[in-house]
């Protein structure tokens, strides 16, 4: 039997970067094949060429033994290639059914389409109401739309781009069940991820990319997570160094019955949130995206100003009614999730971006005038200490890649030595080496006596980094417990809350 998909010498050049350099590998029918690599290793470029979004500069793609050219996604779907994107191509204002209809090349009457959708959902246990508006669905449910849409085309190869990054552990298990069933029926799966334990649990073969080149094709079940990670990074992996048995100091950040008002149509406010972070402690807040994390971060940073002065206190001083600038002066710095446009101004230079958040703490503004020398020096220090790949302090923030901008933003806040630091998704889109450096910097900041709150959807990150953990669901925060007292299952159940656990019972109306 010929290989389902075979790539030979695929090369793709972008201005200044060789995204793929002579990449060759093959996917067998019914195989779950992992494509592993850091951000910027060229995984996305490679699958975009398989799916016809981009064209390779050199090399050959063979499909079921025949050489093919895939000029566009439509042609890919016609061949039998389906793809579930990391960022879903969904239309929030439209219904599930309309979304799926848009993804179908053939014109199918909506009644017939609905029948086929229900059939696929039944077969694979993907529960979803076709008439719901996408805006009301959870991320896991949205992913199911994409999967159903791909499955309707009876694909022979399904490409999954980082499918689990936003799912609860239970949703991940459900997804794996579906994927295994598909593979058993002969559909090949190309599974892109950098989560090694998932690849070990799910995949038959793993192809590892680094810097656009193929490093190795191996059997993940024969490898350790560590050996694969080292192939991926190309060097030894550093562990977070935490001082053993360090004691925490006095309560530093105390949150007492914090609540926010509902701001937008799809916004989830926080309700009655209370927690305490002691000096030297890192508190992690886990949860599926869209459960009030944004409101919590805004309420802590001062973007949302509350009406209770004592709802947020630092060292016993109430700051609940202060704005962002006043809170920064009091020692509370924050990093929001959206880095470009929220944490940094894309068209400003890095030095100017430093002035925006560090001006008061580091005296960059004197009598209303910007001390650009101080700003440049400080920015240069951030660039050096956090290994930011930028030409210098006068590069614009928008010219940096996502991971580098994130390193700059984290560095900008950490080097201000805030007594309380609140960060959301500190290593989102950052490669493993840089993530380790950011984690280490956070740990070091905590060791120096700061209280840190990390809001993240990455459980591995939270478990490695944090001392205590709480879970946010629909705006409610669970009680915080030491990380080692939480099992993955327990976290997963809290993350899913009532919403996730009973979903299966009411999702398909008769």
């Amino acid at each position: 039997m010929p290989n389902r998909l075979e790539l030979t010498g695929i090369t793709k050049q972008f201005p200044g970067v060789l995204a793929n350099d002579q990449v060759s590998f093959a996917v067998k029918p019914g195989e779950i094949h992992a494509l592993l690599g850091e951000n910027g290793a060229g995984k996305s470029t490679l699958v975009k060429m398989i799916y016809g979004i981009m064209q390779p500069d050199a090399g050959e793609i063979r499909w079921n033994g025949e050489p093919v050219v895939v000029p566009n996604p439509k042609a890919a779907r016609k061949l039998g290639i389906g793809m579930v994107f990391q960022h879903f191509s969904l239309f929030e204002a439209l219904t599930v059914l309309e979304n799926i209809a848009l993804g179908m090349d053939a014109k199918i009457p909506s009644r017939e389409l609905e029948g086929r959708i229900r059939e696929v959902m039944q077969t694979y246990g993907l529960v979803l109401d076709p008439h719901r508006t996408v805006a009301t669905l959870s991320v896991g449910e949205r992913q199911r739309i994409e999967i159903v849409r791909s499955l309707l085309l009876n694909p022979q190869l399904l490409i999954m781009d980082e499918p689990t990054s936003v799912l609860t552990p239970q949703e991940v298990e459900q997804l794996f069940t579906v994927l295994r069933k598909l593979a058993a029926e002969g559909c090949s799966i190309l599974y892109i991820s950098h989560k090694l334990h998932e690849i070990k649990a799910l995949c038959d073969t793993a192809t590892i990319l680094r810097g656009g080149k193929l490093v190795d094709t191996c059997d993940p079940k024969q490898e350790t997570s560590r050996s694969m990670a080292e192939k991926m990074i190309g060097s030894g992996l550093k562990d977070i160094v935490k001082a053993e048995g360090r004691a925490f100091g006095q309560p530093k950040l105390v949150i007492n019955r914090l609540r926010t008002n509902k701001a937008g149509h799809f916004d989830v406010p926080v309700d009655n949130v209370s927690f305490t972070v002691r000096a030297g402690e890192i508190l992690g807040i886990a949860g599926v995206a869209g459960n009030g994390q944004n409101a919590l971060l805004d309420a802590l940073s001062g973007e949302i100003i509350g009406d209770d002065r004592e709802a947020i206190t630092i060292d016993g001083f109430g700051i609940g009614m202060m704005n962002t600038t006043e809170r920064r002066k009091r020692g509370l710095c924050a990093v929001p999730e959206e880095r470009n446009g929220h944490a940094a101004v894309g068209d400003f230079s890095l030095a100017d971006n430093s002035v925006l958040t560090a001006r008061d703490r580091l005296g960059m503004v004197v009598m209303g005038l910007i001390n650009s020398g101080a700003a440049k020096t400080y920015t240069g220090k951030v660039i050096a200490d956090f290994a930011v790949k930028a030409l210098g302090p006068s590069s614009t923030a928008g010219s940096l890649s996502g991971g580098n901008l994130q390193k700059y933003i984290m560095g900008r806040e950490i080097l201000q030595k805030p007594s309380v630091l609140v960060v959301s998704q500190p290593t989102w889109g950052v490669d493993a080496g840089a993530a380790a450096a950011i984690h280490q910097a956070l740990v070091d900041l905590a060791s120096a006596g700061s209280a840190i709150v990390v809001i993240s959807q990455d459980l591995d990150e939270l478990r490695a980094l944090c001392d205590t953990l709480a879970v946010i669901n629909m705006g409610h925060l669970s009680a915080a417990k030491p990380v080692k007292d939480f099992s993955i299952e327990e976290i997963g159940l809290l993350m899913g809350g009532v919403h996730g656990a009973s979903e299966a019972d009411h999702a398909i109306p008769a």
């Binding site: 979004i53 566009n72 439509k74 191509s89 239309f91 929030e92 204002a93 439209l94 149509h265």
Partner: protein
Amino acid sequence: MELALAILITVVGASTPILIAALGELVVEKAGVLNLGVEGMMLIGAIAGFVVQFHTGNPYLALLCGAAAGTAASLIFGFLTLSLSANQTATGLALTIFGTGFSALAGSSYSARPVTLMQPLFPAEFYGNPIGRVIFGYSFPVYFSFVMVVAIWYFLHKTRAGLILRAVGENDQSAHSIGYSVIGVRYLAVMFGGAMAGIAGACFPLLLTPQWAERMTAGRGWIAVALVVFASWKPFRLLGGAYLFGLVMTTELYAKAGGGPLSAVPSELWAALPYIATVVVLVLISLRRDASTNAPACLGKPFLPAN
């Protein structure tokens, strides 16, 4: 009775061009494009329609040429905003200024020359009595506007092409990644909007004032743009809105002519009423939190493919 009938017929005449132009703009905005050049395209359609009517006396040909002229004007806008990704607001305003100047120039030798008004669509036997007059007494554009309300609603919500158009306005990047031509769909929508604005413009010399006058659309294009928001991008609400504005504008005429207490109000105030109403309506709508939820999410944003 006679007065009520006359008012009703005037309302229909005043509302029709607004409705037609607004329907075109609704489709354009549903595709995610904000074309503020409606007023300019209407004026270009008006002069084209007038010239053709003046020389040929064939109103259907005049409407067709109005549509063609409107489409041509919209293509300028389309090329700048879609192919060159220019700012839509600025380009739309420029189109209005251009349309005003161009129509004034092209019409300079036609001022105060009369044309014949468009005749009712149905033969005279149909509207001998008042009821027949109300139902059958109008010329073609009136019936066309009603048909288009239903047709556009049906197109947007019941056809696949309409779904694609809404998808493009809702999330251009996703539509692009699925494989639809965002720019192509938007060009078609912009051209449709141009044609409708052109027809709406041609209605002015054909239905309302049978001669050429500079700026004869008198800001109705702006009212059409505001109506689309007022109607929350829903065709049937647009119908209601257009007639509401038509009624307000007509009241002005009869208040001035009719005497009595209404004429005591300064005529400038009456003339300003539709525009004041526009502002009030927009403010009221903005106060409603969820009003914008039906707005196309990509409205006014230029599309640049991510890859």
